[in-house]
Symmetry: C2
Subunit: 260 residues, 2 copies
Amino acid sequence: MSGLEGNRKVGRLAPVRRTSTVDLIAERLREAVVDGSLPPGTVLGEAELAYQLGVSRGPLREAMQRLTAEGLLVIPRRRGLAVKTMTPEDVRDIHWLRATIEPELGRRILTLAAADRRTVLAELGAEVKRMQRALRKDDARALGDAYLDFHRVLAGWGGSLRLARMLGTLLIETRLCTFSMFEHFEVHRDLVPEHVAFVEALAADDGERFGILMRAHLEAEVRRLLAEPEDAKEDEADRLLAETPDEPQPLDRLDLPEGL
Amino acid sequence: MSGLEGNRKVGRLAPVRRTSTVDLIAERLREAVVDGSLPPGTVLGEAELAYQLGVSRGPLREAMQRLTAEGLLVIPRRRGLAVKTMTPEDVRDIHWLRATIEPELGRRILTLAAADRRTVLAELGAEVKRMQRALRKDDARALGDAYLDFHRVLAGWGGSLRLARMLGTLLIETRLCTFSMFEHFEVHRDLVPEHVAFVEALAADDGERFGILMRAHLEAEVRRLLAEPEDAKEDEADRLLAETPDEPQPLDRLDLPEGL
DNA sequence: GATAATCAGATTGTCGACAAACTTACAATA
DNA sequence: TATTGTAAGTTTGTCGACAATCTGATTATC
């Protein structure tokens, strides 16, 4: 998951990482969005949320602005903040963007020094193993988490801070897509073999193949999320039946520790 | 420069665009960064800046967070805010990212309906004309502005809101690169023919060629900005001579109207 | 009975103030 | 003379409060 902070000199002390309150709040909110404590569409009042986080409204509002810039939150006028609900159009947009970026990432990883490349493969392999374990246990949550981390590893080794940040956001948005489209996590059995193939392609030094696989995977993801004709008519039906009537979700209690 | 808001129904009223104070401040700051009123490295005090903008520190701080998320500002601990200074590494990073994204954009524009494509070509042509006029007048500022708008048109017609936002930020960062590397605007005569070629490639329906040209242009830009060996040893020397000793730039007065 | 106007409640947007933290300069000591 | 310790000043980080605004419902009128 690292790879960007490789310029640490041995013997010298790395600068202390001091993080501001706003950073902490933003990180907390991001977590809450990723792990589903704040489902899409959730509307939150500033005062209540600030109280739960143990901070005042000032820093909270600053963190909100940051998450808004990342596209995770929307701020309707005079109604606090709401977790962004992804539309089918968003799903397509996000995955199209990922499909342009991630194949390039693979190509770039293959230009790394041999040692680094081995590290990447090891890290990716570890994530795939996590995915396999999760699949065996039918733990959709863990599968999703490993999925995110797999792609974060990719992003981290792309050699671009900016791109890592952007892809990081896109991945959280991907998670939001899942939450927006389904009420619960889905276990996709195809996911693991697909990612095994990614690693194999990289191991075989075949960037071209990696790109093709990645684009195919992302297109498949869009189909799965939008439950488009081909593979899942029944899924669509199930979804519609299981779906709650989408009432304006009331303040969903944040389950966060009191003392920040 | 538009293209994303094409879903406006005739006869229906478009929703009123009400913009919050934070939006206004953020936009003002972005402008100031783009037009050079706030050169890279500028350190600003919150109180002073808030006073100049005619708002209190609260909304200003919120806007700061947003610009920070965009990578335009950095917030050193307890020293207000500073306009980000781009390093050579940033220059390479930004242009590499653009080189990944913008060719794809051309390909996507070519999939547009014929009518839309004509509109794009017209808009791009207009920007090229602006660039030509600017070049004739040796107006580096105007040339740079038209350059930005040319690429913004591209971004706007890519059919992706997210990508338009990202590329928008990258373009502002590009401008910051110029300011970070040189003390003044530079007139690059090659710029205009390069962009004429872009339009021609699109007009000829040749996405492949467009991509190649774009990548070449961006690589050339990096060389120009970093004054790398090939084309500009003397430029490098000139630059070093002309350069001020990079003293911690004191509060550079914002030239903004009082009443917001 | 339906539409418009009014009113109360709640929540945001904004501001002013206080205290903690950091920087810088100066002085004291080894 | 160099280095450490001290102190003052400045600026941020955070909080609490007030007022404007919006929502939702109730009432009055046609």
